[in-house]
């Protein structure tokens, strides 16, 4: 989100500022034309601690996360920064774009794929959805969508079958490039969702499909991107009636983390999931993904691509053999749409 603020600062005040950053994730700034190396000891250099106050009141005002840094910077610099586009600002070099995807390194052939994040950090377990439901989604799109599972090592990303498994195999820049090649993204509220919007699509389509399993943890206006299918429950539960609950964990992990304090623990747990996440069924996610295909902006795998996908999976990249050894996908099960869509 800070990349967006820097972009919009320069767009709103052309030629007035030189900018540099000190952040934890330098890979997000690579090839960024708005950055210039600045020496913090230079008396002309002003250092700003960017900790936008808007994050503390994201419940009611009509602001997106993207406004957070933007308004904060604008106030500090006494300039009006208008948001230009609804996304972060990532820059892939021509060379990076010319590289084949990590998936193609495996498949050899270029085929469309969706990036999937089926977990998250232990600090925010409240964002996790049910592994079995992710699996149901994957099974439902067997032979139609190839999913590539990602996730940082050390975080919770349960193994799924019928996916290409790149968990722990992407640094941030590799993840950005993977998303550049991706047709779509399926994830909870996390970096992947923001990357899905911010990273250019490979074939210059204006947007990338993205289905977000959001629940009621955070306010929709603060997180939702326009072209995403954002599955939320704000307004449906007492604990997130007007805004996201802002809690961190489903259960205590007894690790002395600030996320383990009582006020950060979910108050409504059903079957080990926050009720808000439990309310989102696999069928809801399937339906949301289908929408992009029904609408015609995306095509399911072609016959040739299915062969490539099958071969890739059966060659052992994260495949649970069951998928291609007789276990039927959900969509083939009698009564699926009737039972599960409602």
């Amino acid at each position: 989100m800070l990349t967006a603020a820097v972009r919009d600062l320069h767009a709103s005040c052309p030629g007035q500022f030189q900018t540099d950053v000190r952040t934890r994730h330098n890979e997000l700034w690579r090839n960024n034309p708005h950055l210039r190396r600045l020496d913090p000891r230079d008396p002309d250099v002003e250092q700003i601690d960017c900790n936008p106050p808007l994050t503390q009141r994201n419940d009611d005002p009509p602001f997106h996360f993207i406004h957070g840094f933007l308004r904060h910077l604008g106030n500090l610099l006494d300039v009006e920064i208008k948001p230009t586009v609804f996304r972060g600002d990532l820059h892939l070099s021509r060379r990076e774009k010319s590289w084949i995807s990590q998936l193609q390194e495996i498949t050899r052939d270029e085929i469309p794929f969706w990036v999937l994040s089926a977990g998250g950090t232990f600090e925010k377990t409240i964002k996790w959805w049910d592994r079995e439901r992710f699996q149901t989604v994957i099974n439902a799109f067997r032979d139609r969508i190839l999913f590539v599972q990602v996730g940082a090592e050390g975080d919770h990303h349960p193994e799924l079958s019928g996916v290409v498994d790149l968990r722990g195999k992407t640094d941030l820049r590799q993840l950005i490039r993977l998303i550049h090649h991706a047709q779509g993204v399926l994830c909870p509220l996390n970096l992947l969702m923001h990357l899905s919007s911010a990273v250019d699509t490979k074939h210059s389509s204006p947007n990338r499909a993205c289905v977000v399993i959001a629940g009621g943890g955070q306010s929709t206006q603060w997180q939702r991107y326009p072209t995403h299918q954002f599955l939320h429950t704000i307004g449906a539960l007492t604990c997130c009636d007007t805004a996201g609950c802002g809690r961190h964990r489903t259960h205590s992990l007894d690790d002395n983390s600030p996320s383990d304090s009582a006020d950060k623990i979910c108050v409504d747990v059903v079957d080990d999931l926050p009720h808000c996440m439990h309310m989102i069924g696999a069928a809801d996610v399937i339906r949301s993904i289908q929408r992009y295909f029904d609408g015609g902006v995306l095509n399911y795998l072609s016959a040739d691509e299915i062969e490539v996908a099958r071969k890739t999976l059966t060659d052992g990249v994260g495949l649970s053999e069951s998928i291609y050894k007789g276990e039927r996908g959900l969509s083939e099960q009698p009564g699926f749409m009737q039972q599960d869509r409602l």
Partner: protein, 340 residues
């Protein structure tokens, strides 16, 4: 003290957004402005404490015709409609009004709150109900969803939710079976009060959607009201959607709304000489008389989103007694539902 008269004569939804701007102006500049309005919907301003009668011939008064050019950036920019007039005022008057709330600003008098609802007038008993608008204006037929799908939704919740159908008589609002029919029976103020009593709302992108978010909920101020919006791909979600609504959209899923809302006016030409009939204002992708983006939203989708509000446990289905109380007042089943 600066004196402002704000003018706008657009549709009720637009005027409702202007109420938000007046609220936010006073919140951002307390005691610095006196405000009055000249708009097409006076009933939206009733009991508004931020309105002071001002005369246009008062030399201290600035009269401002309010527009919202922000709409031209609505597809790309992270703004909601509720900020539209605020941005305009900020630009015109060099202000820094900060939006306060995701809602318009409607005031119900204590006496109005005490009145029973139009529904209770008919049923004789207070029952929970949802307001449904199953049509709209002829100048924006691209917002319409199929009447038979609305009927499926109503039928599905038979005995669980009592729907109350509203809509202006001179607009397109085909009759639904099994509803309490208040079409043509509510002026703006009555509609506001009806929404005040309502448990939930089902509608397209209309004035009713904005009211659902704005009008306080009876007996529980601060609590939100469920609302399921059948939006399709005409408007960008960030511009129209309220945080606690279930906003069913297809933006990003069709080539014609891949970059944002298409903002087309009509599904098919009506031959009425309106500029809305011009090719540039017509839907590019029509399926069975509906914009494809609306066609892609099924009755099951809407049912599922309505259910969410009940599954969450915050609302209860009709009791047997409530259901029975409604029966004498509902529109009896008719032979055929009206399809588009």
């Amino acid at each position: 003290m600066r004196k402002l008269i704000l003018k706008n004569h657009q549709s009720p939804g637009d005027i409702l957004m202007l109420t938000a701007t007046v609220r936010d102006l006073h919140a951002s500049y307390p005691g610095e402005f006196l405000t009055d309005v000249r708009t097409s919907v006076d009933q939206l301003w009733q009991h508004n404490p931020l309105i002071t009668p001002l005369r246009e011939d008062d030399p201290e008064v600035t009269a401002l015709r309010c527009n919202y050019p922000l709409i031209h950036r609505s597809n790309e920019s992270p703004y909601h409609f509720v900020q539209s007039f605020t941005e305009y005022l900020n630009d015109k008057l060099s202000l820094k009004i900060t939006p306060q709330k995701y809602a318009g600003d409607i005031y119900l008098h204590q006496q109005e709150k005490r009145w029973i609802s139009q529904v209770q007038e008919r049923t004789g008993k207070e029952i929970p109900y949802w307001v449904i608008a199953a049509g709209g204006k002829y100048d924006f037929t691209a917002k319409w969803w199929a009447s038979d799908r609305y009927q499926q939704v109503v039928d599905y919740f038979y005995g669980k939710i009592q729907f109350v159908q509203v809509g202006e008589l001179h607009h397109y609002h085909p009759p639904l079976r099994g509803v309490i029919d208040l079409r043509g029976l509510t002026d703006v103020r009555q509609l506001i009060r009806l929404v005040y009593h309502a448990q939930g709302v089902v509608c397209g992108v209309t004035f009713l959607m904005h009211l659902a978010a704005t009008v306080e909920t009876k007996g529980s101020a601060g609590q939100t009201r469920p609302c399921v919006v059948i939006a399709g791909g005409r408007e960008p979600p960030q511009w129209e959607a309220y945080p606690h609504h279930q906003f069913l959209h297809t933006v990003g899923a069709l080539p014609c709304c891949e970059k944002g809302g298409c903002w087309k006016a009509r599904t098919l030409p009506l031959g009425d000489g309106s500029e809305k009939d011009l090719p540039r204002n017509l839907c590019l992708n029509v399926v069975q008389g509906m914009p494809r983006c609306m066609h892609m939203i099924s009755a099951e989708d809407v049912i599922r989103r309505i259910q969410m509000y009940f599954v969450g446990g915050r609302r209860a289905w009709l009791t047997q007694q409530e259901f029975c109380a409604a029966q004498p007042t509902i529109r009896q089943p008719i032979a055929h539902s009206v399809a588009l």
